[in-house]
Symmetry: C2
Amino acid sequence: MSACRALEARFREIADIEGALAVLHWDQQVMMPPGGAEVRGEQVATLERIAHERLVDPAVGDWLAAAAGEGQDPWRAANLREMRRHHLHAVAVPPDLVAALARAAARAEQAWRRARAEADFALMEPGLREVLALVREKARAKAEALGLDLYDALLDGFEPGMRTATVDRLFEPLEARLPHLLEQVLERQGDAPPPLPGALPVGEQKALGERLMERLGFDFTRGRLDESLHPFCGGVPDDIRLTARYDHDVASGLMAILHETGHALYNGALPREWRGQPVGEARSTAVHESQSLLIEMQVCRSLPFQHLLAPRLQAAYGDPDHPALAPGALYRRAIRVGRGLIRVDADEVTYPLHVILRYRLERAMIEGRLEVLDLPEAWNEGMAALVGAVPPNDAQGCLQDIHWPGGAFGYFPCYTLGALMAAQLAAAIRRAIPDLDEQIAAGDFAPLRHWLREQIHERGCLLETGDLLLEATGEELSATPFLDHLCARYLNS
Amino acid sequence: MSACRALEARFREIADIEGALAVLHWDQQVMMPPGGAEVRGEQVATLERIAHERLVDPAVGDWLAAAAGEGQDPWRAANLREMRRHHLHAVAVPPDLVAALARAAARAEQAWRRARAEADFALMEPGLREVLALVREKARAKAEALGLDLYDALLDGFEPGMRTATVDRLFEPLEARLPHLLEQVLERQGDAPPPLPGALPVGEQKALGERLMERLGFDFTRGRLDESLHPFCGGVPDDIRLTARYDHDVASGLMAILHETGHALYNGALPREWRGQPVGEARSTAVHESQSLLIEMQVCRSLPFQHLLAPRLQAAYGDPDHPALAPGALYRRAIRVGRGLIRVDADEVTYPLHVILRYRLERAMIEGRLEVLDLPEAWNEGMAALVGAVPPNDAQGCLQDIHWPGGAFGYFPCYTLGALMAAQLAAAIRRAIPDLDEQIAAGDFAPLRHWLREQIHERGCLLETGDLLLEATGEELSATPFLDHLCARYLNS
């Protein structure tokens, strides 16, 4: 067996284990009774350990060295590059540290739940300190192995090739422009739209969501829609598990479903002939987020989409003349902006400011410039400066996200990198499909889907992120299309 | 680390993988969209292969040899005995044969589905021949390793310690008595009970099932009830996944739920301190079936239980006076006997005859006395002699069960061994709890559950099956309590 074939077999095995873990994760959020938590935790830990062992196996290193000599077409070469990256990241961190971090993160997440419920940072502080110490150790190990700075070594795990220098360059104009833009939008947007006519029954919300998902191209023979506390898109490409949460505001619930549908369309169209191989996976966290934000923010929160949505909502409510269900009112609702305290509820103008705050703070913690104890104060100062709002307590402040107690440092920038990519892709799509708005209003998403498949989805990890964006849009990633989009949507309408 | 500790860690790991597989299996039957079948098949095959590799690892053999010298309390000693048994069975079969059999069985199951749908045995015949050849090879390998006859070597995989000599001794009085008993019952049982007043909505059937499950002691914080094509009890002890099928006959649907609840009560009460260890598992296939049949046949198809059920059904139908919902009419429905052709629909008088037929035929195939080609004829002859009914086609004959194309030879006897055990346990319970019938009618199952926990559930695999039965009932396993039960229920009422 050639080294390449041995590697492909090994990575297929790892993908099978990770696919099983994806189903277990979905089940845990959607189906599992509470009593199952302990044994499920053990099952997941065992499968994760086995997948990790398979990846750090010295044989993988030997095969990678041997495979460098084998002749390669571009897909195989990219597959080897991605294998090497996964292997490098995994072997960089000693197994004891991986295990210690997993245990500390599990403890800190527990403490975080209590701390957030009681709005008491002190409850989480020792746990987060322990996690941070171990994440810094992990960052040092990865930095040494990859020849990177501490924070870059973590960032590279979520967004391969991305560096703080680039993030700084991209975030700088956002930080310079968004606080003022936010003020302008708040002055101009006028009164809140009229309230929706009460809540729709869950069954009708779900049916509406399913019909919109189908319209966008979701294939229900290869996926499901269920409920969970936090909406997510899980599963594997031929068995996609999307979840929703149905609450009072049917419009915002539908937008969450459409956001996850953007993720689902990406996963469902990954290159079939490379299933189970690293090159067949989605490119990165930020590129994945670009697909959900493209569908949600660029497509579904547009005025044309509200023309598609309005008659469906009017029919569901049985009230064709309700003022809140007119396309214009729905649009005002979809693009309403506010100085909110909570990232996951933030509008697209404010969201990057939340991310910039977290990016600054987590870099400072990783680089030893900020102690965990000083986090609440630094958070509140940052919120005042960036968003112009100070949380009344830490539950609505630095306790709102699970990322840090969970050990995920270096993840936050990807949200906003994804938003920038989504705007840049949307601009390119509008050049390629001049009547995109008419198609959206008519519910014809086939040309859009076709473009996304060809340019992004079906390329998997063939290209690195920068080249993928360059080939798809003709430009290096920049903040300009995003800022142009915000100005066009929020100031020129 | 002592050999014992190393073994415990290894078997805990295997249990984690098997627990994950149990969730994946449930998901496949209950949740998975059709497009997920292929990738799920690969995930399951990979996890099964890894669990098998962990079990046949030569280190396990070394640890087992070393552990024989370590001082043991009874639970640890029993744990080692069960580990040794699992290891012996697994190493007996070469990995290539395991893989070949899995592939052949997957093909034959596919062919079986088509063959059954078209009632065309020829469609399955080549696939079953291939499976049989490989199962016979597996039987030879196990027979040599375990020092057993061919069929016994397979039977031992489902029912440790059980031998054909014992099965023959237990089945002989059944074969001698049941055909005549069946005739007597058919003469005496009179007209069919009045038909139920239409179908209940699925939601009400489910609610009724859940209330009865709770009454029997099912803990919904550690389990769920869902729907699948064939009802089953899956999952793991703290996360039990029970399924039901709701069709026209609400009474028979409820009996299927109660049958699975018997399995669930066993799994849920396995010894907590030995979770993840072989000694903490259910004793065997037949003992498991004894628990479902005890709850279904001995407890829930009794007249006292119909007194508990009747007012609930009357309330669900909103018809307290309907003649079909009176306890007596429900009881006649619950114990209706017939010369049915289909095993899974069979009553408790006829069921053992179906099993005896399959036991004879599969032994003959394993021992080379019956060719696959001659199976339909042998089946129909056997049905005529034992049940007194001949199937009009093979779909209702030798194509009705998945066991053989799936490679499960040696499993069928366990159903009837379980029925014998259930009757013997029920007789012992009636001696220990003289007012059992009053308790059943009042819906008080706590004393029954307490007895089953102490005598069966909480003992896991501490004792071998024979000793477990002997300690619980004071007698060796025999057919007498079962035949006594049938005579009391069907001839003396």
